[in-house]
């Protein structure tokens, strides 16, 4: 592939709707302090579950953030996506009309789409029979509504692509937006992801024995598993020239990305597939392992993820592993939004100069090997130059995005 004529891609706006706060300032402050967004489940009746905590967004009022989207006609995941996108666009300083007139679109990732609509439809099915479901609600259940909500809210006329690549979907979306801008097919792309806490996801992970009782503790020898969580994450990606000519703040540069599929097991991660994904991401970004200053881990907090992810990182990085931490220790697992939140944390870290912490780790699991720096407790002041954002998923779908400090 010719490198000629390819454009640089800047991240100029960040938007978060999360259990740690709404807006990138609140989100970043919480990450730096190592705060927890985990609370008792209130979005569905958790009676009968043994583990009943999750990372829910409490008191979310979409109308406080949206300017155009009629929130009552859209599902919760779409509301998260549209609100995060609106916040990101404001953060980027884009005028709404100018953005609408630009060659701009969206790429948003999700694991469960509008799961809350399915949850409500199932309750109607059980109560009134399959003929008793609400047609308007059914029309809101399609996952493609998530990117459509972003385009509708922002008046974007480019494409509205929803990626259903499960828990690596936001990185798929960021990668796609990067390619479109780099090649000149688009000038601005809103990229990120959204998902909502729901009964089916919680039950499924619960059945697999993968849900932690109190907190998510990645890399800890007494880890208990994941925390199901929710939220919306959005990044404004635009061509470097556009960002510079607008005089925009540039948080980070998207350097490249890598994608692989393990093609081995429906739920278990695979060291070789992840290691190859890291290598592809490095190659695409034109960086060597020694250049990488920080890894924002997939870090779900299960034993299988921790051991596989760290083994893959060791395979590629050899003796010198960069600091590697998991923001899921604070947020929980926001599913399709997870690597979007990872990207937000990476951009904030590059711009402000810190390493996000693994807030909940107490004693690092010795089985993960020596010299594992998972940034315990609170953020650490640092000046990372190149960082790596991991996203892995059921189905063996791996996606890794490389981000660099703007220079």
């Amino acid at each position: 592939m010719s490198e000629q004529g390819l454009r640089r891609v800047a991240v100029t706006g960040l938007g978060a709707v999360s259990s740690l706060g709404t807006g990138i300032e609140a989100f970043t402050a919480a990450v730096r302090e190592g705060r927890s967004g985990i609370t008792d489940i209130s979005s569905f009746d958790s009676t009968g579950f043994r583990h009943t905590r999750a990372g829910e967004v409490h008191g979310f009022r979409p109308q406080d953030h949206l300017e155009r989207l009629p929130a009552e006609k859209w599902g919760r995941s779409s509301q998260f996506a549209a609100a995060a996108a609106r916040l990101a666009v404001r953060d980027a300083g884009w005028d709404t009309d100018a953005l609408s007139a630009a060659r701009a679109g969206s790429a948003m990732g999700t694991t469960n789409g509008e799961a809350r609509a399915f949850q409500e439809l199932t309750e109607q099915w059980l109560a009134q029979g399959i003929g008793g479901i609400d047609g308007d609600l059914a029309a809101r259940a399609s996952a493609d509504r998530i990117a459509a909500a972003v385009n509708t809210e922002l008046g974007l006329r480019g494409e509205a692509q929803t990626f259903g690549t499960a828990c690596s979907a936001s990185n798929y979306a960021i990668g796609y937006g990067f390619d479109l801008i780099r090649s000149g097919a688009a000038d601005v792309m809103i990229a990120g992801g959204a998902d909502a806490v729901n009964r089916a996801t919680h039950a499924g992970f619960h059945r697999l024995g993968a849900i932690a009782p109190d907190l998510c503790r990645p890399f800890d020898e007494d880890r208990g598993g994941i925390m199901t969580a929710e939220g919306g994450a959005a990044l404004v990606l635009e061509s470097w020239d556009s960002a510079v000519s607008r005089g925009a703040r540039i948080y980070a540069e998207v350097l490249g990305y890598g994608l692989t599929c393990d093609a081995k097991h429906p739920t278990q991660p695979d060291r070789d597939g992840i290691a190859e994904c890291i290598r592809r991401a490095h190659r695409d970004a034109g960086v060597k392992p020694d250049d990488v200053d920080y890894v924002c881990a997939h870090g779900t907090g299960t034993a299988a993820n921790d051991s596989t992810e760290v083994a893959a990182v060791r395979e590629v990085f050899g003796d010198r592993i960069p600091p590697i931490s998991s923001i899921k220790s604070m947020l929980g697992h926001t599913m399709g939004a997870a690597s979007g939140f990872g990207a937000l944390a990476c951009c904030a870290a590059l711009y402000e100069g810190f390493l996000p912490p693994t807030a909940t780790v107490r004693s690092v699991d010795p089985a993960l090997g020596p010299d594992l720096d998972c940034v315990p407790g609170r953020a650490r002041p640092a000046r990372p130059r190149i960082v790596e954002n991991h996203g892995f998923a059921f189905g063996g779908n791996n996606a890794i995005v490389m981000l660099g400090r703007p220079e």
Binding site: D144, Q161, A203, N397
Partner: protein, 384 residues
């Protein structure tokens, strides 16, 4: 700039399709041409004991038996969405003159359009959580089947395809979204070969959702199916002579218009997609010999699509394959079934008009949410 230079050429080298017409492109094109479908079971197999909604014609893939194509093992936990996609992929690979060698699997991937994954699997998993003795006593084997990427990942697992593996949700334009994504990924060197398509299953859950939503138009008919295409770059780096190409995907454009701007704005957006696709592919309106139409089922949507197309084609009136009139609303699979019908139309040996017109074909689609898409295909000279 011509879009047919080697650096921007993406070839379709094989395809597999399942629809209410049965298995394969020949059956599909024959049904689209004649308007006649094989005698079905009125959806009994797909409904699986649930009642049918009144007033909706159900058009399932007749006698769908995944075992006949996939073998007996490991199918129990797979949804109809997943097996429809797997079988279409299997048929697509079976048609290749030269199946993928082990060394190519790292650069081979899967890109599927699906808007909800299996709605039935999702709803039934929720149901299990409500009715089980404990809410978490759900079936662990069925859990991965809730996800939108289940079909694509199963295709990859079956063939050890470790290249990129994307699932795109786009409502009616899902398959065009997948084609666009795949075309981009091939041209940027992120894969050398991609199995790309769309899938939609029929179930009581989807049938009632459509019926209650009232979005199926005046003659409600709901279908299902899947079509998967083998897509490759012209030069895949293996030094193989390009051959066996059915068509070139010259361009694929998708766009969006907020619905509150009205149907005229949606039609204008589709017109822009078609114009952009023609420009990118280096074709004129008069080059288009055939259009494979989506004519989405909602009241007025087919008129919106026709208006957008007319505007872009500036008075030129090519032949139109009305795929949905025959197959019913096939939602996420629709664009893929339209493309399959177009390829089958060309394979059927429809004569090319003098001067090279009719060498180009167009697939158009309009969603219910303001999304629009157009794919521009060029018939391979070897085909005609």
């Amino acid at each position: 700039m011509s879009g047919t230079t080697e650096s921007t050429a993406v070839r379709i080298t094989g395809y597999g399709v399942l629809s209410a017409a049965g298995v394969g492109g020949k059956a599909l094109y024959e049904a689209v041409r004649s308007g006649a479908l094989p005698l079905g079971d009125d959806g009994a197999q797909a409904l699986d004991g649930q009642p049918a909604p009144p007033g909706v014609r159900l058009l399932p893939v007749p006698d769908f038996e995944p075992r006949e194509h996939l073998g007996r093992k490991g199918l129990r936990a797979l949804s109809r969405t997943t097996t429809l996609g797997m079988v279409a992929a299997e048929l697509a690979l079976a048609g290749l003159p030269e199946p993928g060698r082990p060394g190519e699997r790292a650069d081979t991937g899967v890109v599927l359009g699906t808007s909800t994954g299996s709605a039935r699997a999702f709803a039934e998993f929720f149901r299990e959580s409500y009715v089980a003795e404990r809410p978490y006593l759900v079936s662990p084997a069925l859990f991965p089947g809730l996800l939108l990427n289940h079909g694509a990942s199963q295709v990859a697992m079956r063939h050890s395809f470790t290249g990129l593996n994307a699932s795109l949700a786009g409502g009616q334009i899902s398959a065009l979204s997948a084609l666009r994504y795949a075309r981009n990924a091939l041209l940027t060197g992120r894969a050398a070969r991609l199995l790309t398509g769309g899938v939609e299953e029929l179930s009581a859950h989807t049938a009632w959702a459509w019926q209650r939503g009232g979005a199926l138009g005046e003659r409600p008919a709901l279908g299902e199916g899947s079509a998967v295409f083998v897509m490759e770059t012209a030069d895949d780096g293996t030094g193989r002579a390009p051959g066996g190409s059915l068509a070139e995907l010259a361009a694929c454009e998708v766009a969006f218009t907020p619905l509150d701007e009205g149907p005229h704005a949606v039609a204008a957006a589709l017109a822009r997609c078609v114009e952009d696709a023609l420009r990118a592919g280096g074709a004129e309106p008069g080059d288009i010999g055939v259009v494979s139409a989506g004519a989405s089922s909602g009241p007025g949507w087919s008129a919106v699509e026709a208006r957008g197309r007319r505007r872009a084609l500036a008075g030129h009136e090519p032949e139109v394959l009305r795929v949905q009139d025959v197959l019913g609303e096939t939602y996420s699979a629709s664009g893929a079934l339209q493309l399959a019908a177009l390829l089958a139309h060309w394979e059927d040996g429809a004569p090319a008009a003098a001067g090279g017109a009719a060498d180009w074909g167009l697939v158009t689609s309009v969603g219910h949410d303001g999304s629009v898409g157009a794919a521009l295909l060029r018939r391979s000279s070897a085909t005609g």
